[in-house]
């Protein structure tokens, strides 16, 4: 059993699934808290284009926000239930404000036969 967690290797850019194992984004960034010289503590996962676009060079980041929108959802660290190759949350996507774009897109096709 590993007694430490490498946030960059084991959490960042990993898939996030909700309590029903439905994919609801990636860990696009992490929020950390602490003081210079002191201990850093991860407080939340950040999910959405508004989070990953900030990690790109400025021009590309602005273009990404224009294409994908600037939404960023903060998921408190306490919500994380299991960390494997994917990060599993304790709640459902809807309760955390995740997967909104998919629900909107779903409205476009829901009425079609076979959807």
């Amino acid at each position: 059993m590993q007694d430490y967690l490498d946030i960059v290797r084991q959490v960042l850019d990993h898939e996030v699934v909700d309590s029903n194992n439905v994919p609801c984004g990636m860990v696009d960034d992490v929020e950390v808290e602490g003081e210079p010289g002191g201990e850093l503590r991860v407080t939340a996962l950040l999910v959405g284009a508004g989070a990953w676009a900030n990690r790109l060079p400025r021009l590309f980041g602005a273009a990404a926000k224009w294409v994908f929108g600037g939404r960023r959802t903060r998921v408190p660290w306490d919500e994380v239930s299991v960390i494997t190759e994917r990060i599993k949350l304790r709640s459902r996507a809807t309760e955390l404000g995740l997967g909104i774009a998919d629900r909107k897109a779903s409205r476009l096709i829901r009425g079609l036969p076979g959807a």
Partner: protein
């Protein structure tokens, strides 16, 4: 018994789904220009696609992670995003070429106007993916693509010189007249290898493993399907080279259009041969169009963490569904403008090899990681083949675009 049927169907669908429009054009042209001298490239390409699809399928079965999940995780956001954009641009180009190929085949069969047939092909593909389950998509297009076996019979009936044929599998460069001819030979070698190792095949194969619900217990199934199915599929590609060498080379014809390949079976078996060849090409191209459009959707969904898969109702994977539908629409729009499908094929093949190293590296790293894969991690053979092919395709990737420019797309 269930396992046996599953393996049998898997092998047949892998074989029937092996050939697509780019491979058909480049294989026949390679035979028409250089006889059997490029057969060794088909062999090298086949072992490469077996090695990497086996790894991607194994990783998917063990970790339930498809390729673009791994790329995002291992290559990081920046490199991953560049790979995603490039991979989906190539997927779009390949899908465009396949739709053009379908319209050409339908035109040869019906004589109807080409542009209307593009619209019909678009509607046919859209409705097929919408209404068919993943398993039926695999079966219908994979199994009916097996009509291409008529090329195998044609290749044998064309009575090739078997000694020359066998010598073609030994890697060597033939004596050519000018330096330019050597460049054209190198261009065809790179393009033929790329056409066999197209990146979408790995994306689709790994995503398919998850669609089919593979578990670590399916690793043998994965291995058998890759080795036997792709080896049998590559026989079709070899048969196309033979048709090029036996039908077109002696007549100094460079067959430009995909439909020209059907002349081989037509010469041997008359009308029936022609119809079987054209129908086989239609199902092979349609299968590839579906795989490329779905690969585009798989890639985007896996990179951004959207719900994906045909195993979910369309309404529960809405962005995934819209992405493959939009890919079909964009591809049809591009080809309906009158762009030459063969030029599109050429660009899609050349740019495919450029992105191959970025696709394969994360797969190789994860498949060899004992921390992630446990006892299912790469052994010495998979690791050796993986690194050999990574070096080989990196060299091919560096040469591809300069060769495309120097040879004016293989024209010399």
């Amino acid at each position: 018994m269930k396992n046996f049927v599953e393996i049998f169907l898997g092998i047949l669908t892998a074989m029937g789904g092996f050939v697509e429009v780019g491979e058909l054009v480049f294989s026949v042209n390679a035979g028409a220009k250089f006889g059997y001298h490029l057969l060794w490239v088909s062999l090298i390409g086949t072992v490469g696609i077996i090695a990497y699809c086996e790894m991607a399928g194994r990783v998917a079965a063990v970790t339930e992670q498809p390729v673009f999940n791994l790329i995002r995780e291992r290559a990081g956001l920046d490199v991953g995003l560049v790979t995603l954009v490039a991979a989906n641009a190539v997927n779009l180009l390949t899908c465009t070429a396949e739709i053009g190929g379908i319209a050409i085949v339908w035109q040869l069969l019906s004589g109807w106007p080409y542009r209307w047939l593009i619209v019909l092909a678009f509607l046919f593909l859209l409705l097929s993916v919408w209404f068919l389950s993943f398993q039926w998509i695999e079966r219908v297009f994979g199994l009916l693509g097996l009509l291409l076996v008529v090329y195998l019979f044609a290749a044998v009936y064309l009575r090739p010189d078997w000694r020359q044929f066998a010598a073609g599998f030994v890697p060597r460069v033939p004596h050519l007249e000018t330096t330019k001819d050597y460049y054209v030979f190198a261009y065809f070698a790179v393009a033929l290898m790329s056409s066999i190792m197209l990146p979408y095949e790995t994306y689709f194969y790994a995503s398919g493993a998850i669609e089919d619900g593979w578990k670590p217990s399916d690793i043998t199934l994965n291995r058998v399907i890759c080795i036997v199915g792709f080896t049998l599929g590559s026989l079709l590609s070899v048969a196309l080279v033979v048709v090029g060498a036996q039908v077109f080379l002696p007549r100094h014809i460079e067959p430009q259009l995909p439909g020209a390949a059907a002349l081989g079976p037509a010469l041997m078996f008359g009308r029936l041969g022609l119809i079987l060849a054209l129908l086989g090409m239609f199902f092979a191209f349609a299968g590839a169009a579906i795989e490329t459009a779905m690969s585009g959707a798989y890639n985007l969904a896996q990179f951004f963490g959207w719900p994906w898969g045909k195993f979910r109702p369309a309404r529960d994977a809405a962005r995934f569904t819209l992405t493959w539908a939009i890919t079909f629409a964009l591809s049809a729009l591009i080809i309906v403008t009158g762009v030459d499908p063969v030029s599109v094929v050429e660009y899609s093949i050349v740019f495919s090899v450029v992105i191959l190293p970025f696709t394969y590296f994360p797969v190789l790293v994860v498949a060899g990681d004992r921390g992630v894969m446990g006892p299912f991690a790469n052994g010495w053979l998979a690791n050796g083949l993986g690194w050999f092919y990574l070096v080989l395709i990196t060299i091919a990737a560096l040469l591809a675009v300069p060769l495309l420019i120097i040879t004016h797309g293989g024209q010399g």
